[in-house]
Subunit: 263 residues, 2 copies
């Protein structure tokens, strides 16, 4: 079974399902989004979307509680429409008090049967804001935590995430985008810490992608990061670069199916 371990809600949904069918992707782990770059019709709109994203990634957008709740409802609606094709993660605001965090996770993640929390997009130096999130994971049967780990995060931020992963050894922690330019040091952490995983999306070199999936094949989850990645090209890359068919199968679906108990 081929599972895209990370794509955002893109509209219209039927377009996404059609593309999944064409690329031979059975299921998608769907992530919320507070904006829809795929709706851009020209470069000016793309630019506006990406500037929003850059502010978001720099942690400038704050908690955005209402926007995040709305984005989660888009994920839930999508799952209700295509329950055999979608599994969902839900956005959780950072910076809330512990009680408010636990209440949010209960109401928004648990009650909606979502299987994880994320994508967390933090600015550099903001990793401490995840403390309550990890605590909530422990309270809610170790919900996986998915964290954007490309620019603007530095290796010092990634290292801090890995310390949280060590402190909560039963919480699966997924580092998005292979750790970006810090991939060498990030792979070393992933080798050392059993509950630390890598998402393969946003690779900027297939040489690097290939080196990583063949080195730690059991710790990598195929991800497309739609709308930023393309389903077919992303899947082709894994198939082309994996040294063996069994490595490709692990990365393209078996690993995440095992983690989420889906098959």
């Amino acid at each position: 079974m081929i599972i895209d371990g990370n794509s955002h809600v893109t509209l219209p949904l039927q377009e996404h399902i059609k593309d999944m069918d064409m690329a031979g992707i059975d299921k998608t782990v769907l992530f919320p989004t507070t904006f829809h770059p795929e709706a851009s019709t020209n470069f000016t709109e793309v630019k506006a979307s990406m500037e929003f994203l850059n502010d978001l990634l720099a942690g400038k957008k704050g908690s955005m509680v209402e926007a995040r709740k709305k984005s989660v409802s888009e994920v839930v609606e999508a799952i209700n429409l295509y329950p055999d094709r979608y599994i969902g993660f839900g956005a959780v605001p950072v910076g809330l008090e512990l009680d408010a965090t636990l209440q949010y996770v209960d109401e928004v993640i648990e009650k909606n049967n979502l299987v994880g929390m994320g994508e967390f997009t933090l600015g550099s130096g903001q990793i401490h804001l995840l403390n309550n999130i990890f605590y909530a994971s422990q309270e809610f049967h170790n919900l996986p935590v998915w964290i954007h780990a490309f620019f603007p995060l530095t290796f010092s931020d990634i290292k801090e995430i890995s310390e949280l992963a060590k402190r909560y050894p039963r919480t699966p922690v997924i580092l998005g985008h292979l750790g970006g330019i810090n991939w060498i040091e990030t792979v070393a952490l992933v080798k050392e810490i059993p509950n630390l995983y890598l998402d393969t999306s946003a690779y900027y070199s297939t040489f690097i992608l290939g080196s990583i999936i063949n080195e730690v094949p059991a710790k990598c989850f195929f991800g497309v990061d739609r709308p930023f990645g393309d389903l077919q090209l992303s899947k082709d890359a894994i198939l082309r670069l994996a040294n063996t068919p069994s490595i490709a199968s692990l990365v393209l679906g078996e690993n995440i199916a095992q983690l989420l108990h889906k098959s």
Copy 2:
């Protein structure tokens, strides 16, 4: 005609030619390299290669005059072996006096019939080291200058490069890797400055790659950046993302053929 506008010498050469044949790439603009990551047989060797690269990209390796001359002789040998398939750029050390720079360009670039200078890998804050290179370009019938413009360069560095491009309006300047995370501001410069171009390799999002090639199709050169990129996957990406076949043709070969007067 499909031209890979940027790949490094990878050994053995016949392997590269075979891969070009399989991917349907007619010619490659070959760049020198002072190391051969493609020869790595395990992750430890990959890591060592990439640590070398990181030092190189941070400008920590200095002029490396002898290593660069040797790397150029690899390019020249490759062209002599496959004159119909390879065109070459040559490395020029930065930080030499003007006279020494001109003498080097004459002996190493001109006398070997190389068609451009690069890839220049400078640390952030080191762009002023290119002054003599641009002067040499002007002296030698406006040899194109190819500059790595992904990490660790900041937008301030890219802006400084664009000022050099304005000061030398007849020198084609190719910014490698789309400007990296600074692609939005970089595209604005490329639109404004006629002799400023983009190389498409090392894209980390096909959404971004597609937005750029469709916005400034006449200013983009397809690049694989082998060994870091894969010929087939890189070509497939352009074909899949270009809005029209004529945009694909421009990016995949026509633009660079026109620049280098090759067809």
